[in-house]
Amino acid sequence: MRFLLISLFLLTASCASYPKQHNFKETSTHNFQLENPYFSNPSIDYVYKSDIKVFNKSFSGIFIVKKMANQHHRIVFTTEMGNKLFDFEFLNKNFKINHILPEMNKKPLINTLKHDFFALIEQKPTPVQYYSDEKSTMIKSELLNKDFYYIAKNKQLYKIARTNKGKEKVTFLYSGISDNIASQINIQHSNINLNIHLKKL
């Protein structure tokens, strides 16, 4: 009986929506305009030292983002010595590969990076539903057909979660925020062994 109760509890918990699992309640009143400001200034060259851990291997490089115009970004990753590993471009949600090292030219990898990077640069996602708890606001949106939740405290976005069936698949954590620049960004995947850590240079 106890086992059944625990199973039932787990089943309900795992079926609960992402906001519910985190004790957020739907709300119609909110004071936060959904905006991701961290790569939104076209006059800034966003340059980060990047450490990537994938399947227990680690490598590093320089991660560069530039907003060219509205809905237009370039994202380039080079080694510290300057060799370009990839050069991606987003223009009106269309994704283009300008250059990629043949060793990295693998569809699943590119697809993962495309979804991760689009979440980094999409400045004004369309809000679908608002939630709140005592301190924070959570906003549901959809990017490239995936569910995303944006979480802000004191009107400052500090976390984005990509979910599937209520479960966190990827989290983006922003810290050391000043003047709409995050000095650290951590992208953690939970379904694959991949972590990308960005440190502002």
């Binding site: 006059s43 030292k49 510290e80 060799n83 240079l201």
Partner: protein, 185 residues
């Protein structure tokens, strides 16, 4: 540059390379991407030991070093160490060889490159474009600047997209003993 001048430069560079056992120098690296407002600048110290041990130790704006030694690449990324065996990777081997030879500038191999010579105020600049198609996909051209003493003062690696990496050397010291610890890993 006339043919006789280019031959004279080649000979000077070659004889200098032959008598060079070690080089240490400071370097400043500029990564130029056309779409950026400013080049990305980093700097550090280069140590070279003949024939092919090279260490690039960046100390600004991050601590990172890469040591090329015996077909291996030893990386120290802010204290985290990582080794890469490049023995099996032909392209990487080729790149490593080029990096070593570009430090002394002794890479006048016409089987591998189309080579053009130019004079400038500070000395001369030689353009090397790789003949190997696979290699040319990564680097369209190397520009190696020599001062009047035929020492390499700057190396520019230009990608097919015309984005480039420029490395400028200063405080170059030749044939001074470099402690083994520099090339330890």
């Amino acid at each position: 540059m006339s043919t006789s001048e280019s031959i004279a430069l080649q000979e000077k560079v070659k004889s200098l390379a032959e008598t060079t056992n070690t080089i240490s120098a400071n370097f400043v690296q500029y990564k130029h991407l056309d779409f950026l407002s400013n080049d990305i600048e980093s700097s550090g110290k280069l140590s070279f030991k003949s024939p092919d041990m090279v260490k690039w130790a960046y100390n600004k704006p991050f601590q990172y070093s890469v040591l090329f030694k015996n077909d291996m690449l030893y990386i120290n990324n802010e204290g985290e160490k990582n080794n890469i065996d490049i023995g099996s990777n032909k392209l990487f081997k080729q790149l490593n060889k080029l990096i070593s030879s570009s430090i002394t500038g002794n890479m006048f191999t016409t089987e591998e490159f189309n080579i053009n010579y130019y004079k400038n105020e500070k000395g001369s600049v030689v353009y090397f474009s790789p003949k190997d198609e696979k290699f040319a996909k990564y680097i369209k051209e190397f520009h190696i600047n020599f001062n009047h003493n035929a020492e390499v003062s700057a190396v520019k690696m230009i990608e097919p997209s015309n984005d480039y990496t420029l490395i400028q050397f200063s405080n170059r010291i030749t044939n001074q003993n470099i402690p083994d610890a520099v090339f330890a890993h």
